[in-house]
Symmetry: C2
Amino acid sequence: MQTDWIAVDWGTSNLRVWAMAGNRIVAQATSEDGMGRLDRDGFEPALLRLIEPWLGQRQTEIIACGMVGSRQGWYEAPYRATPCTPLDFASLVTVPTRDARIAVRIVPGLKQVKSPDVMRGEETQIAGVLALKPGFDGVICLPGTHSKWVHISAGEVVSFQTFMTGELFALLSTQSVLRHGMAGGGWDDAAFDAALSDALSRPERIGAKLFSLRAEGLIANLTPAAARARLSGLLIGVELAASRPFWLGQQVVIVGSEALAKSYTRALAAQGAAPQMLDATEATLAGLTAARHKVTA
Amino acid sequence: MQTDWIAVDWGTSNLRVWAMAGNRIVAQATSEDGMGRLDRDGFEPALLRLIEPWLGQRQTEIIACGMVGSRQGWYEAPYRATPCTPLDFASLVTVPTRDARIAVRIVPGLKQVKSPDVMRGEETQIAGVLALKPGFDGVICLPGTHSKWVHISAGEVVSFQTFMTGELFALLSTQSVLRHGMAGGGWDDAAFDAALSDALSRPERIGAKLFSLRAEGLIANLTPAAARARLSGLLIGVELAASRPFWLGQQVVIVGSEALAKSYTRALAAQGAAPQMLDATEATLAGLTAARHKVTA
């Protein structure tokens, strides 16, 4: 099948590319050439290393989202200000390339000036949700390194808020004193549930509850599986305590990787909410496809 | 002046030693041979490298506190269970040494079984406070990597609680996405005060407030000095929200390094408390001196 365009999700740590025929995937590839390890001149070669086999005689159109459009990325795609639609044709930024076989456009991120906040990449997943669920009004939760909660109304991003939950989990489980009690991994649903409930009712105790994982590891035989699940439950619990105005009584769609989306769904279900789940990659591809349709429309 | 004993504060990152004549300092030395970089056979040589010049014909008595007594340390000094006095002569642990010129004893840490918690090193500083302020009843706050709040009554540690505040500050300011907005250091008291107040009144928002430091750095020209002070204010604010039962209406002594003790004093003063400050090293030495007196009494 012929590749008629290429979808690119280019984050801080990874580069993922898909050869597309319309909205169908023809081939895919990934590398660890994320923005974080490239200087400005490294982006085009890193992309070509993955997509070279898919290029033909005609110029191939490429739509990219993510940190590739940040100031430290390949080419800056300035933030658009909310409230606004997640995508806007006129705002896609064309990247100058040396190789004439590719025509690269980057989807800009969004910024919120009042209650300052930013996103890059999630706007494309939001556009994907709206493409897959036309007319959706409600809240989109995008758990991850920097979890986002997003109010959607009439096809626009009305407001959003970012939480450092995922980055805190990564730092605490691998770089802090708590790492000693988590070697070996594993998971314990009951520990997750208890920690979640605890953090939702007493979020201010987070600093002490974190250290308790260390203390219980030393003197109360806390297992690595329970420690890991409790750390997650505590951090997600504090996030849900603060994001209550987003999810309480709202229609919520969770867009994330399977494991993380399941944890958030379980957590919200325990609070009486009934979120829907949508795969993050599916949302990204639907969003990039929507961006491409706007370009070619 | 003759060295009649040696005081040792041996933590995860540093080794600090003092040649003492009674309760006076004759000489001091430090190295980076903390517990974290030594295996079991490395402790005695690391100590001798620093104290060799102070050793004479007679055997020299050495009293050590800190992580040196942990399971991963030189020789385990099992935790004593609270409620208890911070020091107990009979519980000092004698370390077998190869070099007959030294007689090394380690002060054990404390554990709290209900609401599991542990300390190692702080028990010695607490003993120091009680030596310097005989009859003290009230609360001792020991800010640091793992900040401790300790209820003291009738010379005993009644209960305590540890917060990961200092480790969170270190991880977030040097390892997280927030590090980009903090290069260059500096400090901003007004930013600290505002963040403190914010976190005390809405502690559950910590995850979002942390990310706002990144967002404001990108789109609202937040300075590194303000970002750094706000990070500190947010984390200390959440700690004070949870430690309120310790400090509200209590006599509080803060034992810490000068800069950190000043931040906690400023924070508590803003809440109407009037803590006293005591230098951490002074407290450690007073505690080790008290332990030595108990040994030789």
